[in-house]
């Protein structure tokens, strides 16, 4: 069963599910920050 399909009510699976989404959110934010950061810092501010 993947995180996509983990039932939230099963405590252990549910906590793994939210942990997985938290991990993905943090990593996605890092990626977005690098994308915007490189343009703003290097491109616009010089």
């Amino acid at each position: 069963m993947t995180v996509d399909r983990m039932p939230m009510k099963e405590t252990q699976a549910g906590s793994r599910r939210s942990a997985a989404w938290r991990t993905a959110l943090v990593l996605g934010s890092i990626a977005a920050a690098f994308f915007i950061g490189i343009i703003v810092k290097k491109g616009l501010l010089g």
Partner: protein, 526 residues
Amino acid sequence: MEAAHAHDAAHAHDHHPTGLMRWITTTNHKDIGSMYLWFSLMMFFVGGVLALGIRSELFQPGLQVVSPELFNQLTTMHGLIMVFGAIMPAFVGFANWQIPLMIGAPDMAFARMNNWSFWLLPPAALLLVASFFVPGGATAAGWTLYVPLSIQMGMGMDLAIFAVHIMGISSIMGSINIVTTVLNLRAPGMTLMKMPMFVWTWLITAYLLIAVMPVLAGAVTMILTDRHFGTSFFNAAGGGDPILYQHVFWFFGHPEVYIMILPAFGIISEVIPTFARKPLFGYTSMVYAVASIAILSFIVWAHHMFTTGMPVAAQLFFMYATMLIAIPTGVKVFNWVSTMWRGSLTFETPMLFAVGFLFVFTIGGFTGVICAIAPVDIQIQETYYIVAHFHYVLVAGSLFALFAGTYYWLPKWTGHMYDETLGKVHFWGSMIFFNITFFPMHFLGLAGMPRRIPDYALQFADFNHIASIGAFGFGLSQLVFVWVVLKSIQGGRKATDEVWEGAEGLEWRVPSPAPLHTWEEAPVVK
């Protein structure tokens, strides 16, 4: 018993699409892994055909086969397709197939995102290939897409930028999936320091990808706005700085080199212990070596730019930082050799490719140290020495490791042993012709032959002749690989679950071929 029946019933009610829809809609990590591998194999041949176009033109001096414009398109697209279409997706294919099997997870964490990550790739590849047919042809700015060329190119450049964006999004989503899977879905008892080396290398690679792919996306976005929206990030005519592009590109580009080699290290670290029938020597130091290489990869980018004119202090910093990478890499080579030391060695095809990797990749590593020396690099910058160096790293390194991994896990994927004789023919063909192709390029580079030119001075003719013959031999050898794979899918000696005597790891505890669903009940690792 009741639970088993319930389990059967659950599967009986699964409505899996068949035919093409199965592959389009699949969320299964094995299906998606297979699609990545087939996709990369196809792109490997597309990129290979472009390479043979290059080598045909360089077979003798003068212009014979292609125009100079097309030649530049061939070198650019060969690089882009091999890096983004062949090597990277092949490793992601391995990650998809193997990581859940190796850590005892039932699938990747985000199975639907996994499907999306893959299906972004074919349109991107189509854009790249189609760019040959638009007015002005494909982009010819080199795979680095350096400005000012990339600002001046025709529509093919826009297609390449769009393709890089799409492939970047695919890579970032794939990496997030891999990190999340490894951090959250490991079987009970599998601590980080018990993970197989292949999983470790991919975990670190995925972090690298998340950090640098957005930087590349940012760089090409700035090229796009310079081209069409009146900005001057890099356009010198508007006050922009072309060298800034090189800094931004190589901040992505150097970690990218390690993105293409770290998973290769992981595969080699799985193969050698199996065929030496010994545990990996220095597991902990291997983990720290991979992490060190990854961290160092962020502070060496300007060694690609020694000739752009930088302060001596900067040259010294980037030179010594680059040389430092030889230390963790040396640790890894030492550990692989030590794993083999007094082992019960046998040389089936995966081991042949692994040992071949050790020999030939190490040559590429050594020439890398030579390139790192600033005064030497200033002499050999933009010569065939560089071409020789990075092909020793990417073909003998990444590609040979991919072959080692394919032969190693193919019986687990297909359920049949591959044809060992044909495998050995493939290995020796690849090894011999690889060296015939690329070793002479060191001499060409040292003699001053520049890269990315369709014509050259007469004194370079002999070595180019040899290199071109080698390239066609190498290309033909790869047809043997396709034959071996297809033969193994169709039939052959039935593979056991363990496949290899001495193989360790969870993937060998599932049947061969691995069923569609594995580890629905997580195994316990002691």
